[in-house]
């Protein structure tokens, strides 16, 4: 079977199973059965499929997903988070779309820490986003930032994905980390600017709570110190634990969950029933994400095994391209692969092709690496299958998927613009690394 016939067969079957409403994870598993039968050799192939699936989430690096979700659920079901949200609302009442801004800043921080955009989207999407929907924010402002901030997090250190890219490609890790700062900050500013401007030009998409304006200064400031402080403790436990060398980034997630539990106890906000609710919700959301990972990681293995991914990648070698066209082609390939394949697999598959090609064409590897990071992150966000869209669907069950796509769209466009800027103006990424080279 040619590679494109394989892609067409597996992709087509997947699309049909998606369309009839079969849960995404089971649709992947169904296509995996088909793919394993054809490419892994019949019955033994099916056995191998089951073995691969059984081992697919047996990895400590996935721990941040349930741990960060647990942290969020504890804070919200205990009510602690609402007090903090109210405090921020009172303090920043002049800022349009305050909660969306909080999502951008807070989300970037947590995505950076957890190294997992998935955990981050699940945490924010199930909590802050829901609160914004309740307060009448538009779906774009409520859901968009929670899905998109992973793009900033992947650029600004600490970035687990940047370290991983460096480890897999041989590109200097510290150069990648430094190089990501400027474009990452630019993306953060662009997100904030979009959120604020959208609310300014169309106030209905981020309703302002009129009452806070009439509150005296004291009642605006005191709750901030009283109710936001516990969140800072959690923040310190997570960040401090990591910076002080007490915990690895993955373990820091557990410290966050434990500190959240302690904070709810300290503020006497936790009841038995809210505790049980937090645990069950954590399980529900985590399982729906991890089970998709079981199925989609196995799918990408079968796709690689069948030769379809390699066939697709060799497209790039068959034509002579100018360096800039080559870069664009590589980024386009990543955007397409993002529809089918997880981040780490994407790197493992493409780097052996890209690095030699880039070296031969004299392309700066740090520059390429950082643009790849943005493209890989974008792959998680682009329809039809962007795992972040699915995660958001999982935590925001009442929102139609099309509306979730629409919510992501402005942020996808911003990320594409930043990516274009990085392509056209290499100094944006290479200036800081050149200072320490």
């Amino acid at each position: 079977m040619t590679w494109w016939a394989t892609l067409l067969l597996l992709g087509g079957t997947l699309a049909v199973l998606f369309a009839i409403g079969l849960p995404v994870a089971f649709a992947f598993l169904g296509v995996n059965l088909l793919g394993a039968w054809i490419f892994l050799g019949g019955e033994v192939g099916l056995e191998q499929l089951v073995r691969n699936a059984a081992g697919s989430v047996n990895s400590f690096s996935l721990a941040p997903i349930p741990l960060f979700i647990l942290m969020g659920e504890l804070l919200f079901h205990s009510g602690l988070a609402y007090r903090a949200i109210d405090a921020i609302e009172r303090l920043l009442y002049r800022l349009p779309a305050r909660l969306a801004c909080v999502t951008v800043v807070g989300g970037t921080t947590f995505a950076a820490l957890s190294g997992s955009s998935i955990a981050n989207t699940a945490l924010l999407g199930g909590t802050l986003s829901q609160e914004m929907l309740k307060r009448g924010y538009s779906t774009t402002l409520a859901l968009g930032p929670a899905m998109a901030v992973g793009g900033i997090a992947v650029l600004i250190p600490p970035s687990a994905l940047a370290v991983m890219l460096g480890s897999l490609s041989g590109i200097s890790i510290s150069q990648l980390l430094i190089g990501g700062i400027l474009p990452g900050m630019l993306m953060g500013i662009a997100f904030l600017a979009y959120v604020i401007l959208a609310a300014r030009f169309d106030p209905s998409c981020a309703p302002n709570d009129v009452d806070s304006k009439q509150l005296p200064f004291r009642e605006r400031v005191v709750p901030f110190f009283r109710d936001v402080v516990p969140l800072f403790f959690i923040f310190i436990a997570v960040i401090g634990g990591m910076l002080a060398g007490i915990a690895t980034p993955t373990e820091a997630a557990a410290l966050g969950a434990t500190t959240a539990l302690l904070a709810t106890l300290f503020y006497r906000q936790l009841t038995w029933s809210s505790f049980v609710k937090s645990m069950l919700e954590t399980a529900k959301v985590s399982v729906s994400i991890l089970f998709i990972i079981v199925a989609s990681v196995t799918f990408s293995q079968i796709l690689s095994f069948s030769g379809a991914t390699n066939g697709f990648l060799t497209l790039i070698q068959t034509v002579e391209l100018s360096p800039i066209a080559l870069v664009v082609a590589m980024l386009l390939i990543l955007l397409v692969l993002g529809c089918f394949i997880d981040q780490i697999s994407m790197m493992m598959i493409t780097l052996p092709f890209f690095i030699p090609l880039a070296q031969a064409a004299g392309i700066d590897l740090v520059w390429l690496g950082l643009m790849m990071l943005v493209a890989i992150e974008l792959g998680l966000l682009t329809p039809p299958f962007g795992i972040l869209l699915m995660v958001m669907q999982g935590v925001s069950r009442s929102t139609p998927l099309l509306q979730i796509y629409r919510a992501a769209l402005p942020f996808i466009i911003i990320e594409l613009l930043i990516l274009a800027l990085m392509v056209l103006w290499p100094q944006l990424t290479l200036f800081l690394p050149s200072l320490v080279r």
Binding site: V44, Q48, S167, G245, P249, Q301, M348, P352
Partner: protein
């Protein structure tokens, strides 16, 4: 040119990422076979860890999902726990082929896992302890060292605190002092970018990295004598030229030195104890799960 009708194409997987230190010897092996075997056999490499999880390669061989693989017995220790003896041995492949050690290990593989062990690719590459700071003493007591199961027992026996950390987190863990160091082969540190956070390499090295070519027994038995000979000739040629791994290790030592990684030589007495502890801890693991075969192997695999 179209292949001759009786040319057999065999499907291969590498358990190591394309382009890294332990994928390269296999590339060479594949090239050798495909050149010498024109019209007889051809290896088609399907991919690396992205196509088959490394710890599943053993099962894939056993079930004949693939025909052969570049892997290490460490990855299929679930099927053949005795295989880790290949990492612990202080004998060369030439010696093992002569004293019956190769035959015994292959028999165990065939019996337990329907895997045929063709031979060894990586040899004479030692593991080392690397530290993120200059070494203060010859004691490892209380050091937090990133480790993998193959030398975890050894690190524990040294008094160190072994930690399992995903490769992607090691860099940050070193940078932040979450770990004091890690165990890794004498080559390959640069592949992962860890040199930026490494100050010291502790000598002597211990054990030796084992990678090799493993066949699905079913696929192997389907080959005729002429086809088998192509593979055997190629692997013997690889094993005969294994001294180049020592040259690689020397070159890497220089490169590490240039990158600011200093060598700390353990004093003679502690070095001897260090190596003895490594052997004892390693073999204890094997003997625990395989008292009979393990003991037989230990006789043939140690000096």
């Amino acid at each position: 040119a179209p292949a001759k009708a009786d040319e057999v194409t065999l499907r291969a997987i590498s358990a190591f990422q394309t382009g890294t230190a332990f994928a390269k010897p296999f590339d060479e092996f594949v090239q050798k076979v495909n050149e010498a075997g024109k019209g007889l056999v051809k290896i088609q490499v399907l991919g690396g860890p992205e196509a088959m999880p490394p710890f599943e390669v053993g099962n894939a061989l056993r079930g004949n999902v693939i025909d052969l693989a570049n892997t290490t017995a460490v990855f299929h220790a679930n099927l053949v726990p005795e295989g880790v003896a290949l990492t612990m041995t202080d004998l060369s492949m030439a010696e093992l082929r002569q004293n019956g050690g190769y035959d015994l290990m292959n028999q165990i593989h065939e019996k337990r896992a329907r895997i045929h062990w063709l031979g060894r690719l990586a040899e004479k590459i030692k593991y080392h302890v690397y530290l993120s700071k200059p070494a203060k003493s010859d004691s490892f007591d209380g050091l937090k060292l990133r480790s993998v199961p193959i030398y975890q027992a050894f690190f524990s026996a040294l008094g160190a605190n072994p930690m399992q950390i995903a490769p992607g987190e090691v860099f940050t863990a070193l940078e932040r002092g979450t770990i004091d160091g890690y165990g890794w082969p004498s080559i390959g540190v640069f592949d992962l970018g860890w040199q930026e956070q490494t100050k010291t390499r502790v000598d002597p090295g211990f054990y030796q990295v084992e990678t090799g070519v493993y066949f699905s027994l079913a696929a192997w038995n389907k080959l005729n004598a002429e086809q088998k000979a192509v593979f055997e000739k190629a692997i013997l040629a690889m094993e005969d030229s294994s001294s180049r791994f020592e040259q690689d290790a020397d070159a890497e030592r220089k490169r590490q030195g240039e990158a600011g990684i200093e060598t700390y030589n353990l004093p003679e007495a502690s070095a001897a104890k260090f190596l003895q502890t490594a052997q004892e801890a390693g073999w204890a693991q094997v003997l625990k799960v395989s008292p009979q075969d393990g003991a037989a192997l230990q006789k043939l695999f140690t000096k």
